[in-house]
């Protein structure tokens, strides 16, 4: 790598960097630096993760007994709704893109910042503004429609704060759109000399595909929420069957966004996994081009499978057949990726630092989550499984098991770069393993509950389901530790962690060629790229 960077491995205690350049409110709240904006997002989504997680804890506590009186039924309905709304729109959708994406994309392509820094800051403010609306809704009594807000319950029957929540999500949607727009333009226009498309890290490919979905799918959600909100307010609309409207129209519009949305949540995690696995294998990712094309295929196909959420909704059997077929096809690129990650370990030099443990956990949990998606894609079988705990387990395996593990892995992997400090390795490995075990204990019993028939969104259930619910709740207590402990030791490391060199992992990638933490302009001189991505095997080492 030929890039003129100062002191790649020296101790950088006192150099000027993006963190040291200003510490007052203005320098943070009016920053245009993509790195600081990434950190603003980290703080916001951590808070929201806490709120969503508290709701989940209450849910699992309530489900310990079949007819629990821990919370009232009304409160329970609001808890699972707010859990879903906050976790999907205010944690998962922004998580990797707005934190790691914001921080790393310019650095990985060799740029000084994103294409539109002011739009980037606006994105964060829109996100916060939207979150405040949602929190307002929460504090004034919550919403009880489920995060899916199906009509006509949401438009004509619920007396909860549906409109406030819809508004909050609507506003946050613009944050998503602007972020995606920024990322696409940056990747297209601002790559450093020599950084061709097929030299880009797979994290960039993942963020690019995610951004396409962000830009194209989110407007559909915005309009759907608007239609729902206006109908609720004025009592007239296209979803109300009383006037001849069609409640299925809401579902089609909602899922047209919400299915691609799940790829917004998992594709970035795939990008993170590729970076971590290649680094701790000292091996290029197996099948780079297939991996890149697979990411694009997932994003593209993800737009045409939404009807698999509606097999028993009353949509025609013909439509269901088409959606089932397309859903099976969209799982092929995901399968390819799992095999390729596995193959990356072949003839590698594998080490097991915490990021690698998280990344391997991601691969395992994503495999299980993805395979169980095939159960649901099967027309005949979905009738039994739809709207049961099987679905709950499936999507938590992907969104929590896979995506959150990858997110934590990425935070750990790039923590030295972002903060200039090392986290405590022993604690981090412990938490990775604890999270993996706790997660499986929480969600695997739910597959069994699902086939037995336990419906979702049920605070009260038949007594024969209790044993599985108790196992699940027990697992969730481990998960709490797995998520809270990292917060503690990462914060601790900010002051007491070992100072990090520019490239503690000896990783490839332009972001590692500059200091930790980086200077405000990322690179002192523009890097020039002369080697392929993941050029780990070209080093001498033992072969």
């Amino acid at each position: 790598m030929n890039s003129a960077v100062i002191g790649a491995n020296e101790n950088i205690a006192s150099h000027e960097n993006y963190l040291s350049s200003g510490w007052n409110w203005r320098s943070w709240l009016l920053t245009l630096d993509h790195k600081r904006i990434g950190i603003l997002y980290v703080v916001s989504i951590t808070l929201l993760f806490g709120i969503g997680g508290a709701a989940a804890a209450l849910i699992r506590l309530d489900l310990l007994t079949p007819h629990s009186q821990l919370v009232s039924i009304e409160t329970y309905n609001k808890l699972f709704t707010m859990h879903g709304v906050i976790m999907v729109w205010f944690f998962l959708i922004p998580s990797i893109p707005a934190t790691l994406g914001n921080f790393l994309i310019p650095m990985m392509v060799g740029a000084r910042d994103l294409a539109f820094p002011r739009l980037n800051l606006l994105s964060w403010y829109l996100f916060v503004f939207g979150a405040l609306f949602t929190i307002y809704a929460l504090l004034s009594g919550g919403d009880d429609t489920g995060w899916t807000m199906y009509a006509p319950y949401s438009t004509s029957f619920s007396t909860s704060h549906v409109f406030a929540v819809a508004t909050g999500v609507f506003i946050a949607g613009f944050s998503s759109i602007l972020t995606g727009l920024n990322f696409i333009v940056t990747v297209h226009e601002m790559r450093a000399p020599g950084m061709t498309w097929f030299r880009l890290p797979l994290f960039i490919w993942a963020m690019y595909a995610t951004s396409l979905i962000l830009v194209l799918a989110t407007p559909v959600l915005a309009m759907t929420l608007m239609l729902m909100g206006i109908e609720r307010t004025f009592g007239i609309g296209v979803f109300d069957p009383g006037l001849g409207g069609d409640p299925l129209l809401f579902q089609h519009l909602f899922w047209f966004y919400s299915h691609p949305a799940v790829y917004i949540m998992v594709v970035p995690a795939m990008g993170v996994a590729s970076e971590i696995i290649s680094c701790f294998c000292r091996n290029p990712v197996f099948g780079y081009r297939f991996m890149a094309y697979a990411i694009l295929a997932i994003a593209a196909f993800g737009f045409v499978v939404w009807g698999h959420h509606m097999f028993v909704s009353g949509q025609s059997a013909y439509a269901g057949t088409v959606f089932s077929l397309l859903t099976f096809l969209v799982s092929v690129p995901s399968a390819i990726k799992v095999f390729n990650w596995t193959a990356t370990l072949y003839k590698a030099h594998v080490s097991f630092e915490a990021p690698m443990l998280y990344a391997l956990g991601f691969v395992g949990l994503f495999t299980i989550g993805g395979l169980t998606g095939l159960f649901l894609a099967s027309l005949g079988l979905d009738e039994q499984l739809h709207d049961t705990y099987f679905v709950v387990a499936h999507f938590h395996y992907i969104m929590v098991g896979a995506a959150v593990m990858a997110f934590f892995g990425g935070i750990h992997f790039w923590w030295p770069k972002i903060t200039g400090r090392m986290y405590p390795e022993g604690w981090a490995r412990f938490c990775a393993i604890l999270t993996f075990i706790g997660f499986n204990l929480t969600f695997f019993p739910q597959f069994i509950l699902g086939y037995l028939g336990m419906p979702r969104r049920y605070p009260d259930y038949p007594p024969e389901f209790q044993v599985w619910n108790v196992l699940s709740s027990a697992g969730s207590s481990l998960l709490v530790f797995g998520y809270v402990l990292p917060l503690a030791y990462l914060l601790w490391s900010l002051k007491y962690g070992a100072k990090a060199p520019a490239n503690p992992w000896d990783a490839k990638g332009l972001e590692w060629q500059t200091e930790s933490p980086p200077p405000t302009e990322n690179f002192h001189t523009t890097p020039i790229v002369t080697e392929e991505a993941y050029a780990y095997r070209t080093e001498s080492a033992h072969g």
């Binding site: 199906y150 409640p247 297939f290 059997a317 096809l329 691969v363 495999t367 169980t372 009738e383």
Partner: protein, 320 residues
């Protein structure tokens, strides 16, 4: 079959095929997940940093070609497997949703937060469903308010129940006993209390149950009474002065419409005709039928439909 501790009882004829699908997926995904796990663990140990295993790649060109073939293989093989499973599962699905011609209809109206069932012979049930053993049954369902979903896990069946529409759910119960029934589409506060039981009865017991309700008027007779109360006879009856379609022999027949289309006179057609009459006007008639929206409840509509069925051609082509 009797329940394993983590597996539901199987009480309907579609249960076998669906369970076969489920087990096939369990085995397939178990094998794949195990293979991936084993490979990851094996590679991680064998190729851990510092281990003596060889990392040499002899010939770059051959290696690249081999890897390419491997990639193609593990693209094609899953795709073929998935397509095979797709075809199998679609077949099972079509079996499940096909309504047998001689199915016994039971009408279900869902409302927040209870299930109201009506048998053609007149019996009414709340949160319970008495069905005969080994006879095909079709539930014709609608909701009075929001979307619900009727699920009987031991039968392996489920179908959303929509306001403003009829959806159907058919089954043949082949094991006597009592089974749980749930609402599985979130419908408001007491969604989780909207549960019930299905009682599958041997022929003798079923006959006894029917005869216990022998003096309840049939749905068709209740429907006829409402039909006359609302004055429908004034236009559709034999002595009517108005040119209106006759209802004898109507049900189940194709009806040519004024706009050139032809639709089937099934439950949906009758319902639409009563509530939104000028949408599908039959050929040769004026759009002059008044709407009865707001004057007829969902149960009454179903009773009127049963009445129309009873006026001839009463083997309905009930569409899924």
């Amino acid at each position: 079959m009797d329940a394993l501790p983590f597996f539901p009882v199987r009480a309907s004829t579609i249960g076998g095929p669906i369970d076969d699908l489920y087990f096939a997926w369990l085995i397939l995904s178990g094998v794949v997940a195990l293979a991936v796990a084993v490979l990851i663990v094996w590679f991680a140990i064998r190729y851990r940093r510092g281990s003596p295993a060889s990392r040499a790649i002899a010939d770059a060109a051959t290696h690249a070609r081999t890897m390419h073939h491997i990639e193609i293989t593990w693209t094609i093989v899953p795709m073929a497997l998935f397509l095979g499973m797709f075809v199998w599962s679609a077949e099972v699905y079509y079996d499940a949703v096909r309504v047998p011609k001689d199915a016994l209809p039971i009408y279900v109206v869902a409302k927040q937060w209870m299930w109201h069932a009506e048998h053609p012979a007149g019996e009414r049930e709340i949160n319970e469903l008495h069905v005969p053993l080994n006879r095909p049954v079709v539930l014709v369902m609608t909701s009075q308010d929001v979307i619900h979903s009727l699920s009987i896990p031991d039968f392996r069946i489920k179908q959303d129940v929509l306001p403003g529409r009829y959806t159907t759910l058919s089954f043949t119960a082949n094991r006597p006993g009592e089974y749980r029934l749930y609402c599985t589409q979130f419908c408001g506060t007491s969604h989780s209390n909207m549960v019930g039981r299905v009682l599958v009865m041997e022929p003798v017991a079923y006959e006894e149950w029917l005869s216990a309700h022998a003096n309840v008027p049939t749905m068709a007779s209740r429907g006829e009474r409402r039909y006359r109360e609302l004055g429908c006879d004034g236009c559709h009856g034999a002595q009517a002065a108005v040119h209106a379609p006759k209802l004898e022999g109507l049900f189940g027949r194709p009806v040519p419409l004024r706009d050139g289309r032809t639709v089937l006179a099934d439950e949906r057609f009758i319902r639409a005709a009563v509530l939104l009459p000028n949408q599908d006007v039959p050929a040769g008639y004026e759009a002059s039928m008044p709407s009865f929206r707001g004057q007829i409840g969902e149960e009454e509509l179903l009773e009127i439909i049963e009445y129309v069925k009873s006026k001839g051609n009463a083997t309905p082509e009930v569409l899924p």
